[in-house]
């Protein structure tokens, strides 16, 4: 709107930046009014459903986990089926530190969870990201399976199959009690963590680095041909994504006050992938929409058909893969574009 107000000057630079395409690009990172909606909804949920805050925390953690996957899969095009490796690494970091009484402060605990996951992301990424496609997919799966089996066998440290129960986490800022009995604290804490991580990821994807990740996703060979250090960028992205997933895992362990092998499960990795595909990958808010849609579907389908609710989910995924490859957000974008052109025509 303000773009139209810029007078056409003979100055060449003003003309360049006055071009609608240039304006759109220069303003793409600006916050839009509707970006406040998910956060208002989250605060509204806090007041409207005080009895469901534990469920709410779980939802926020799923969003954070899906957001971390979106960075790797949606933006950089790193095909992974093993993202629970980092979720689990974060969860076990928090879990073991708290269980053995080494460290139970929640905020620094999450930073350590992120750090541990980042290290695993970096080390595995150095090897994995030499490959692409199906090989990469299999290797991410293997990394996760190896970690899970390690956690299973290192019984003395991880509790093996039984996991580590009854974790004690210190009060937040030393004031607010943090355990499953105080789900309001946990919810607000989770929301704050999600907001912080989201702002970080958002900054990243609108940065020149984020733009080059999109370039790698769109055309790997071309990025090589314009002299981009492709592998280094992918490794950095994978490491950051792993750290974010680790924070989500750490938060999961803190809010549940336990950690077990399910943190490293294929089921978890597949679920987060489904969440992202459902919402729309490479779209920043796909994680939000996808997580809400998944949990709503689970709730609704389980009520209609308790024994085989996943059948309904599977059918829906087939439909999405066939007709709405960019998920719910992509579908919305298409409909909006169609509406806009029709509106312009009439």
């Amino acid at each position: 709107m303000t773009g139209a107000a810029i007078p056409a000057k003979p100055n060449a630079d003003a003309v360049q930046l006055g071009h609608p395409a240039a304006l759109a690009l220069a303003r793409r990172h600006h916050f839009r009014w509707w970006e406040a909606l998910p956060w208002l909804a989250a605060i509204g949920f806090y007041f409207a459903f005080p009895d469901y805050l534990a469920f709410g925390s779980g939802l926020l953690i799923t969003i954070l986990f899906a957001l971390s996957l979106d960075l790797a899969l949606g933006y950089a095009g790193i095909i992974t089926l093993g993202h629970a490796a980092f979720f689990g690494a974060g969860a076990y970091t928090v879990g073991m530190l708290a269980y053995y009484g080494i460290w139970s402060e929640p905020i620094t605990g999450l930073l350590l969870a992120g750090l541990a996951a980042a290290i695993i992301g970096l080390l595995s990424g150095l090897v994995l990201l030499r490959t692409t496609g199906l090989t990469l997919l299999m290797l991410t799966l293997c990394t996760m399976a190896l970690l899970q089996e390690t956690a299973n066998m290192a019984r003395a440290y991880t509790g093996g199959f039984d996991g580590l129960p009854d974790l004690t986490i210190d009060p937040v800022f030393g004031i607010f009690e943090f355990n499953p009995l105080y789900s309001n604290t946990q919810y607000l804490f989770s929301l704050a963590v999600l907001l912080t991580c989201f702002l970080f990821v958002r900054t990243l994807i609108y940065s020149p680095f984020g733009q080059s990740l999109t370039g790698i996703r769109e055309n790997l060979l071309r990025m090589h041909a314009i002299g981009a250090p492709v592998r280094r960028r992918l490794i950095i992205c994978y490491t950051i994504s792993a750290a974010t997933a680790g924070i989500a895992g750490g938060l999961w362990a803190q809010t549940n006050a336990f950690v077990n092998l399910s943190a490293l499960d294929l089921d978890r990795a597949a679920t987060v992938l489904i969440v992202l595909i459902l919402g729309g990958y490479g779209r920043l808010y796909g994680a939000f929409i996808g997580a809400v849609a998944y949990l709503a579907l689970e709730h609704f389908l389980a009520r209609v058909y308790p024994t085989a609710w996943q059948l309904g989910l599977g059918l829906l995924l087939v439909l999405i893969a066939l007709f709405a490859r960019n998920g719910i957000i992509g579908l919305g974008e298409t409909l909006w574009a169609r509406y806009a052109t029709r509106h312009r025509a009439s």
């Binding site: 360049q16 690009l25 940065s207 733009q211 080059s212 999109t214 370039g215 769109e218 041909a225």
Partner: protein, 267 residues
């Protein structure tokens, strides 16, 4: 505009790109053998040859996609044989592809911005929005204007006709401000009615860039090139001005003769 950039008379034109006995073997196949080749500042050089002559392998050796089994590549006198592809781009070698390699889901402007951001060293920055680098956006827009793409700057690549996609292919390479530009069949796949937009763009390239063009279309070669190299079976078969090549009976035999004459030999 046209008055600029004429190399001053008397100034020796410098050799930008040079290969010495460059060879590459794939198993028993000698794809490129012992090529000595020179490209001077401001060169407009065409590389022609029948399919399978090793032209693309040669370009891949120049850009560092492949490493040679023998011989060397030099850029402005410096041996760059051991340098990887990304290094060579930074040193000033850019290329386009025979088949479009574009960021198809992104806008035309973004396609060029990614290239310019890479060149100016901004592409690794994480903590400020790309939109704040108005210098990059301005430069990209100016480039699009020069190539007459400004009207579609906001369009996705997939919405463009093929001929204009080829222009974006060229724009990405020019955005790297190369000293040496390798064009792999820039007009390939473009309907002949749109051919002129590619040719005009190539003729409008800065005169100080050394340009090597691989082309099948003899109209393009003879309109554009000041020198022509003919490759056959991985080796240089002949080299000369377009007129010399055109009148060389052996070249006519192995290559040009196929279609009955140079202007009829459309690739």
């Amino acid at each position: 505009m046209g008055a600029l950039c004429h190399p001053a008379p008397g100034v020796m034109s410098e050799i930008k790109l040079e290969t010495r006995a460059l060879s590459r073997q794939f198993g028993a196949l000698k794809a490129v053998q012992g090529i000595n080749f020179k490209l001077e500042t401001g060169a407009r050089h065409a590389l022609i040859g029948p399919n399978g002559a090793g032209k693309t392998t040669f370009v891949n050796l120049l850009t560092g996609v492949l490493t040679p089994t023998a011989g060397s590549v030099r850029l402005a006198g410096r041996d760059i044989t051991a340098n990887a592809q990304a290094d060579r781009v930074k040193l000033g070698i850019a290329r386009t592809f025979q088949i479009n390699r574009l960021f198809r889901g992104l806008s035309v402007l973004e396609n060029v911005c990614i290239s310019v951001a890479e060149r100016v060293g901004a592409a690794g920055s994480m903590f400020y929005p790309a939109g704040r680098r108005t210098d990059i956006i301005e430069e990209s827009m100016r480039l699009l204007q020069k190539l007459k793409l400004a009207d579609v700057a906001r369009h996705r690549i997939s919405e463009l006709p093929y001929g204009r996609q080829r222009l974006v292919e060229l724009a990405i390479a020019i955005g790297l401000k190369p000293q040496v530009l390798l064009l792999d069949e820039p007009a390939a796949g473009v309907p002949s009615a749109e051919n002129h937009i590619i040719l005009d763009a190539i003729e409008g390239l800065p005169t100080d860039i050394a340009v090597l063009i691989i082309e099948h279309d003899m109209d393009v070669v003879f309109r554009f090139a000041k020198r022509v190299t003919v490759m056959v079976n991985g080796a240089v078969f002949a080299e000369g001005t377009p007129r010399e090549i055109e009148s060389n009976p052996q070249v006519r035999d192995v290559y040009l003769g196929q279609g009955g004459g140079p202007s009829a030999a459309h690739g």
